[in-house]
């Protein structure tokens, strides 16, 4: 195995409607792809201590569907769902994603996942693209309403990173 290099996630906003996340992993991309697409494995990372997954189905193939349900420690239930557009294991996939609340459940973003492997290190890039600027704003507004308090603490953390 590679020397345990610490890989940091990078977030960028390549356009006004896109958010891109990039993260490297010390693993072959077949395994990364498997962990991203296999429900029993998704359950082991997606909640990330923020929520416990209560349901998980995933099929990014054209015509497939997916749905994640979770419950936060304070009892709030949330769900995300979408449709598969294209799966190209282990190089990547494309699917739609929407937060299942009335305001935005019909405003999915399109998520494009790409995996590149070099010297045993796989770099994952995911780009979420909102259908319109209006959709983006609705998703942000709704996310803020439903998410944890939009606290100054979060802003402080963002700025403190510099």
């Amino acid at each position: 195995m590679n020397a345990a290099a610490k890989h940091e996630m990078i977030l960028t906003t390549p356009s006004d409607r896109e958010i891109t996340l990039t993260r490297a992993f010390n693993a072959p991309r077949e395994l990364v792809f498997k962990a991203l697409t296999t429900p029993s494995l998704i359950r082991r990372w997606w909640g990330a201590g923020h929520a416990e997954m209560t349901a998980c189905d995933f099929d990014a193939r054209a015509g497939g569907t997916w749905r994640f349900e979770a419950k936060t420690p304070d009892g709030y239930e949330l769900a995300f769902f979408g449709e598969g557009r294209e799966a190209d294991p282990p190089a990547g996939m494309v699917y739609t994603e929407a937060f299942d609340v009335p305001e935005v459940r019909d405003r999915p973003s399109i998520v494009t996942v790409r995996l590149r492997e070099e010297n045993g290190i796989t770099t994952l890039t995911t780009t979420s693209r909102f259908a319109s600027v209006e959709d983006r704003d609705m998703v942000i507004a709704t996310g803020m309403e439903h998410g944890a308090a939009a606290s100054y603490d979060a802003l402080e953390a963002l700025l403190a990173e510099q």
Partner: protein, 113 residues
């Protein structure tokens, strides 16, 4: 919610690391263009360009004194878009941290060839 145009400007402004660093500095207090330029390996005119972007996004205001033009951070528009982006960043950073741990576990169970 802010107007879409302003949110666009906020997104664009936050996309740049130098501008985020300028905002971080301004959290500590007002500063002149010269003071803002000092920590960066860039010229005062370059800083002025960044300040223009930040001003258009409504993230800072600038005084009128010609020589000094002290800058001040405006928390309002930053708070919504930046707080949302930061929540998103934190959540995915934690998810990828867990995924990283899982991938290590899986490889220990079945060493890859």
């Amino acid at each position: 919610m802010d107007s879409p145009d302003q949110l666009d400007a906020v997104f664009a402004a936050l996309a740049d690391p130098t501008r985020r660093a300028i905002l971080a500095r301004l959290r500590e207090g007002d500063a002149t263009v010269k003071e803002l330029a000092e920590p960066f390996a860039i010229s005062a005119p370059a800083v002025t360009k960044h300040l223009k972007v930040l001003r258009r996004a409504g993230l800072i205001t600038q005084g009128r004194e010609a020589q000094w033009r002290p800058c001040r951070i405006e928390a309002g528009p930053l708070k919504e878009a930046a707080a949302w982006i930061d929540q998103y960043r934190q959540l995915w950073s934690d998810r990828f941290g867990r995924l990283d741990g899982l991938l290590q576990e899986l490889q220990q169970e079945k060493p890859s060839t």
